[in-house]
C-alpha cells in the first residue's frame, strides 16, 4: 500500500495532461456550447499557455513531484525493453511538430481580435448642447419628483417611453434587451439595459453623456471607434434625454448608482 504514495495509480504525466485537457474542454463547453460565444483562437492560445505553465508549476512544485512527472519519459529513453515504443514515439513527436508548424504558417483567415472597454471612464466635464456640464455633480433634474410628485414622475416616464420607442428600440429593442430588429447587423452590438452589468452600474450623468454624444463621442480608449450609437444631442432636447433615462430605469427596474453610495 505504501508504494501507492510513491507510484500514483494514474502516472503524474498523464494526470497533468488530463488536467490540461479538462480545462480546455471546460472552456469549450462554457463558451462554445453554453454561451455560443467561441473564444477567438489567438486568445485561446494565450489562455492555454498560462494554463499549461500553471499546471506544470503545480505538478513540479517539489523535487519529488517533478521527478515523478518526468519518470515515464526517462523510462522511455533509458529502458531497453521499451525500444519499439521509443522508436514509435521518436517518429510521432517530430511529425506532430511538423504538422503544427505547417498549419501555423498557413495564412490566417481569422478576423483580427478587437478588444475594447465598454464603459470608459467619463471625462470630468463635457460640452453638450453648447454648454459645459460637470459630470461629477450632474444629476437628473427630474429624479427628485419620484418622491415629491409621483404622478408627474410617471407622466415624465411615459414621455420618455415615447422618445425611446420612436428612437431607440430599433437597436436596443423594445424589451430593452439589446435585441432590436437591427441589432444583429451592428458591431459592437447595442447594449442590453436589462443586464445588471450596464445601466445598473452607472450614474445618470454617465448615461446623459453617453446618450448625448453617442459612439463618436467616446474617448480614445474605447477604440475601435465604430459604435453605431447616434449622437442624440443632434435629435433630442436636453429634457428628452433626461426623460428617456427615467424610462430606461423604470422599465428595467434598475436603480441608477448615486453619489451617496460611493
Amino acid at each position: 500500500m505504501s508504494t501507492a504514495v510513491q507510484k500514483p495509480v494514474i502516472p503524474r504525466l498523464l494526470q497533468a495532461a488530463l488536467v490540461i485537457a479538462g480545462i480546455y474542454a471546460g472552456f469549450w463547453l462554457i463558451f462554445d456550447l453554453i454561451l455560443a460565444q467561441p473564444i477567438p483562437q489567438s486568445l485561446m492560445v494565450m489562455y492555454m499557455f498560462f494554463v499549461v505553465s500553471g499546471v506544470f508549476m503545480v505538478f513540479t512544485f517539489t523535487e519529488e513531484s517533478a521527478r515523478q512527472l518526468i519518470a515515464p519519459i526517462r523510462a522511455l529513453v533509458e529502458d531497453q525493453t521499451k525500444k519499439t515504443l521509443r522508436n514509435v514515439v521518436f517518429i510521432v513527436v517530430p511529425a506532430l511538430a511538423a504538422v503544427a508548424v505547417f498549419f501555423q504558417l498557413q495564412p490566417s483567415d481569422e478576423a483580427p481580435l478587437e478588444l475594447r472597454s465598454i464603459h470608459p471612464a467619463p471625462p470630468s466635464s463635457v460640452k453638450i448642447f453648447g454648454k459645459r456640464y460637470d459630470l461629477m455633480s450632474l444629476e437628473n433634474p427630474y429624479r427628485h419628483l419620484e418622491k415629491d410628485d409621483p404622478e408627474q414622475f410617471q407622466e415624465l416616464v411615459a414621455v420618455g417611453g415615447e422618445v425611446y420607442i420612436r428612437n431607440c428600440q430599433y437597436c436596443h429593442g423594445d424589451k430593452l434587451d439589446g435585441k432590436g430588429p437591427y441589432a444583429q447587423g451592428l458591431n459592437p452590438v447595442p447594449l442590453n439595459f436589462q443586464d445588471i452589468g450596464t445601466i445598473a452600474q452607472l450614474q445618470e450623468s454617465f448615461l446623459f453623456w453617453r446618450i448625448a454624444t453617442g459612439g463618436p463621442g467616446l474617448p480614445k480608449e474605447a477604440t475601435p471607434w465604430i459604435s453605431s450609437m447616434p449622437i442624440w444631442q443632434e435629435f433630442l432636447s436636453e429634457e428628452e434625454i433626461w426623460q428617456v433615462i427615467l424610462y430606461l430605469y423604470d422599465y428595467t427596474g434598475h436603480r441608477p448608482r448615486s453619489w451617496e453610495h460611493e
Partner: protein
Amino acid sequence: MINSLNQSGMKPSVRPHHSRLLPILLSMMVLCVGVAEAQPGDAERGERIYAARCMLCHGEEGDGMGAAAERLNPPPRDFTMAQYKIRTTTFEEIVPADEDLQRMIHDGMPGSAMPGWGDVLSEQEIQDLIVYLKTLAGLEEEEDGNLIDYGTQVAVSAESIEKGRVIFHDGDRCSECHGQDGKGDAVKKLKDDSGYRTWPRNLTKPWTYRGSNDPRDIFARITTGIAGTQMPSFDDPASAKRLSIEQRWHVANYVNSLAKTDKVVRPENTVIRALRLVDQVPTTPDDPRWQRALPTTFFLVPQLIAEQRFFTPSNDTITVRAVYNEVEIAFHLEWDDRTQSRPGDETAEKIAGPGISEDAVAIQLPIQLPAGPEKPYFLRGDPSHPVNLWSWRGGASDRAPGVSLATARGPTNTTERDPAAAGLKGAGSYRDGTWRVVLRRPLVTTDPGQDLQFVEGEFIPVAFSAWDGSNGEQGSAHTLTTWYWLLLRPPPGNKPWLFATLAFVLVLLVELWWAHRAQTRRYT
C-alpha cells in the same frame, strides 16, 4: 352536457368588461370541468400588461397608433379592426384561434418590429392579454372559430414540388405578386387595407415569414390568406383560382423549397476571402467563374444615425464575393430588390412609392489601412480618417447605368472624383428580383493619398450600402452594413512545407542526442 359546459367554461371572454364576480365564477366553472391548465385569461390583468408592454407600439386605444407608428413598416397592428395575419381558423371566420394569438405573442413576428414575448411574459400573462385584445374589437362574445381542414398532408418530394411549381406559375397565380423566382418582385403596387405600402413576401428568405416556412404553416397562409393585405385566400369559394387541399399541399412544398440557404447570414463570417485567380478577373455579373469565390452575406440595416434618418428599409441582406489577380480586384455584389427603379420609366414609376430614384450600391474602403485598432467612422468616415466610396447606379430612362467614385470625410462631407482616373469600372444586371453588380479597380493606383492600395494578406476594413429607389431611398436614406473585413488571400506557397520539414528534422535530432546521452550515461 359536459360539452356545452366546456364551451362556455373555455370562453373566458363572455365576461362583461369590469365585473369583479367573474373571476370567481370562472374559476368555479374551471373546477367543474376539471381543466388543469393555466387559468382562463383575465381582461383587466391583460389591460395592465398591455399598458406596460404593448401600448407604446399598439397605441393607447389599441388602434396601432403608438408613438412610432409612422416609423415602422409594417405598422403595429390595429386591434380594433379584428384583422390577424396568422390564423388557423377558416376563411369565413373573423377570430383567430387562441393558439394563433398565443403563438404570435409568444414567438413574435419575424421581419417586423413585433418581438416575441415568451422570454418575459408567463403563459398566464399571455392568456390575459389575449382576452384583453379581443375586447378591443368586441370579439369577446364570438364563438371559437372552426379550424381549417388540413386533409392529409402531402409529404415533401421532388414530384410534389414540381406539381406545386406548376400551380404557382399557372395563370400567374402566385407569381403575379411573388415574382417568377418567388422574390416578391411585384408587378403591382400593393397597399394594405389602411393604405400602408405592403410588399409581397420574398419567399426565398424564410427568416422574414411572419409565420414560418414549414409546409404546414404555408398551407394555412394559402388557405386563409393574410387578412388586411392583398395576399388572398386560395380556399375562397368565390375565387376563380381556388385550390384543392392536395393542390395547396403541393404549392406549400414548392414554396418551402424556395428557401435560399446560401443567403443566410452567419454572424461568425466577418471576412470576405478574395480568391486569387491566375487569369483575368470576371468583368460581368453573370460570369460563371464567380461561383468559385466564397460568398459572404451581411445584414443591411437602415441608416438610423445621421440626418436624414431612414426607418423603413425593404432590403435586409447583401451577398459579396471577391476575386483578384496580379493587377486587379473585382467585387460581386448581389442583393434582392423587388423593383428595378428607373426614373422616367413608366412601369417602374407605377410600382414605386412617391419620388422614384435610381437603385444603387456602394463599397466603402478606408483610404489608409488602419495601423492600430482605430478605423474610420463606419458611416462615411470622419475628417481624420477619410474613406473611398465606389458606387454603381442602376440608371434612369435618360441616364445610362454607371460607376462613380467619391472620397468621404463624414456623413455630409463628400467629394466626387473621376472614376476613370482611378481605373474604377463596373457592370450590373437586374433579373427576377435580384441585382448583381461587379465593381473592379487596379490593386494599386497612381494616387496613394486618395485611393486605397490593396495589399495581399492584410485585413482590410470594408462596408457596403444599398439604395432601393422605389422605396424612397436616396441620399442619406439607405441601408448599410457595419465594417467587415476583406482578405486578399495569398496562396501559401512552399514556405509551410519547408519549415515543417525543418521542424521534423530538428526535433528528431534533439531526440537522438538525448537518447545517445542517456545510453552513454548508463554505461559509464
